[in-house]
Assembly symmetry: C2
Homo-oligomer: 346 residues x 2
């Protein structure tokens, strides 16, 4: 059933296919992409010809002619964090279901990198763009505006999105984190976080909530963004205890970090959650409720990915071209889903 495809040398084109099927190129094209416009018989003949010749469409030519690429550009800070990888999986899969493909850029939490990715990627004439957060360089904004394509900004809530924004308030999440720990009876909660901007904003919310509760200012350990968060658990916890011996709970900037902290707390003989409350952030720790001692600020990365794909597809497929305001932006804050609180005896 296999074959050498073309008798000559290069890959068969639509023209070859048409000749083989005994129709004109445009009919062959329609048979492939808009079968409803073509007689069933010819559709079949073209399909057979395609199969037999091993025809592979050239979407460069197609895109050039139709000004539609079915390509989406996504730029994320990292693929190593479960939040983003969950999101990416959902995003890519949901887009693929509508025959969109995704080209990926990794910004490493740097708006300059984002700009560089975007600048080169726009030349592929994507039908849509997915960005993370709302911090972009001026040139990024300009490029995007000139490109005039749908844009979705994920993870952050903002009243002034470039186009559509889907996310939640990091500040509120941080606030909720503090209040949870406070309500559980912890009086010296601290923050363990990486230095990315979203974690920073959560920390701000946390501090503010502490101030509002007339609590002493929470200690904060900040470490550079890097892949193995779990590995940071030991260092971060040690650093905290060295600085604030009386800390009785920690708000971690990721679930992986929380796991690492948990392991190290065990090693140190600190009982969790009695001596130390550990609060994660994300959707991993509680995914299977397997670690009852931990609680987490739950954020569903996959959900954000799905919503993002949905919004982008809606914008891209035009139909009724919905202005940004019509779609608005959904605040997907599951930060209130705090669980497994246990009154400590500290």
């Amino acid at each position: 059933m296999a074959n050498r495809s073309s008798r000559g040398s290069s890959a068969p084109t639509l023209k070859d296919l048409a000749r083989l099927a005994g129709v004109s190129p445009i009919t062959a094209s329609r048979a492939l992409h808009r079968p409803e416009l073509v007689a069933e018989a010819t559709r079949l003949r073209v399909a057979q010809a395609a199969e037999q010749s091993g025809y592979v469409p050239n979407s460069l030519a197609g895109g050039l002619a139709s000004r539609q690429t079915r390509l989406v550009v996504a730029i994320v800070p990292s693929v190593g964090h479960s939040l983003f990888s969950d999101m990416l999986d959902a995003l890519i899969t949901a887009l693929a279901a509508q025959r969109y493909e995704t080209t990926l850029g990794i910004s490493h939490y740097d708006p300059q990198h984002e700009e560089r990715w975007l600048a080169v990627m726009l030349s592929r004439r994507p039908d849509g763009v997915v960005l993370t957060g709302t911090e972009h360089t001026a040139r990024t904004r300009r490029l995007l505006l000139n490109a005039d394509i749908p844009i979705v900004e994920l993870w952050d809530y903002t009243p002034h999105p470039l186009d559509v924004a889907i996310g939640f308030s990091q500040e509120d999440a941080g606030r909720a984190a503090f209040r949870h720990l406070w309500a559980c009876g912890y009086r010296r909660p601290a923050i363990l976080r990486s230095d990315d901007s979203r974690a920073q904003r959560r920390a701000q919310g946390f501090l503010r909530a502490a101030a509002e509760a007339d609590a002493p200012e929470p200690a904060q350990v900040v470490f550079p963004e890097s892949s193995p968060q779990a590995g940071r658990g030991r260092d971060a916890l040690d650093a905290l205890l060295a600085r604030a011996r009386d800390a009785d709970a920690v708000f971690c900037s990721s679930d992986a970090l929380a796991q690492g902290v948990l392991a190290h707390a065990h090693a140190l003989g600190l009982s969790v959650p009695r001596r130390l409350g550990v609060l994660g952030f994300g959707d991993q720790v509680l995914a299977a409720d397997s670690i009852p001692a931990l609680s987490t600020v739950r954020v569903d990365g996959a959900h954000i990915g799905r919503l993002g794909a949905e919004a982008l597809i809606a914008r891209m497929s035009g139909g009724a071209v919905i202005p940004a305001q019509d779609i608005g932006f959904k605040v997907v804050a599951r930060a209130s889903t705090l669980r497994d609180a246990r009154p400590p005896s500290a």
Copy 2:
């Protein structure tokens, strides 16, 4: 400094740019992409014109004309596992350094999905393809052969790669895992793994090594592939203990799983590594040496990604077109890097 770009309506093309700079289109093209062929003065004029007009190249047209897209297709089983996400990050970053962009497909460990992704992605005329593993459908192979582009298969060692393969022997890794546990004095090591094919092959090696050591056949708990491996720790360990109460060590198919097992072991009051040896797989657990009780079969996903990019770039940039045999395939097995072994007293 910003501007509305085009005075008319649609985005400026190379022709517009050329007119603005007072040169022919082809000269403008060269000024942009092959500056060494052009007088510095004209290069500058073109650059200014580009800046001023907000020109964005159209790589669809460019690719169509030049038969070069600087696009690479990568298909991975998952982006949620640290091994793959580390690899992806390294791969994408290394390719980007040579101005290649990456389109991502997610196979969810299914060769059929891989085939579907490939079939559509090939129509973008990528310059190269990165696949995971060596199990592909017949049509996948056919498509790839007809496409006639460089291919890199990652993670598995095989004497018969489609083109270039970079990986290691999963079997050997499994063997090494068993031997490590055995050498540490564990006499009833078991396997906790997901049901993907590479983990399965590692298990085979593990079992074989056990047979060679005249050990009883290790118990095996297999669970379906799914995102939150860490969450599986509890269920998997419980299942194991229910079935094989005397198991004294576990070989986990991922580091995340190992972490989950560790946490649950703590919860059950099983001391690690005394009562239970826990062996991970990957590059996370020991990344910061933060959890001394665990050991791991170390595999460096990022390294595989870098090597993969390197190999692919070598093949793509042609120059001397190196046949597969010349490049060969590198066996990157760091499975022997077993550490933190502690003689248990079981």
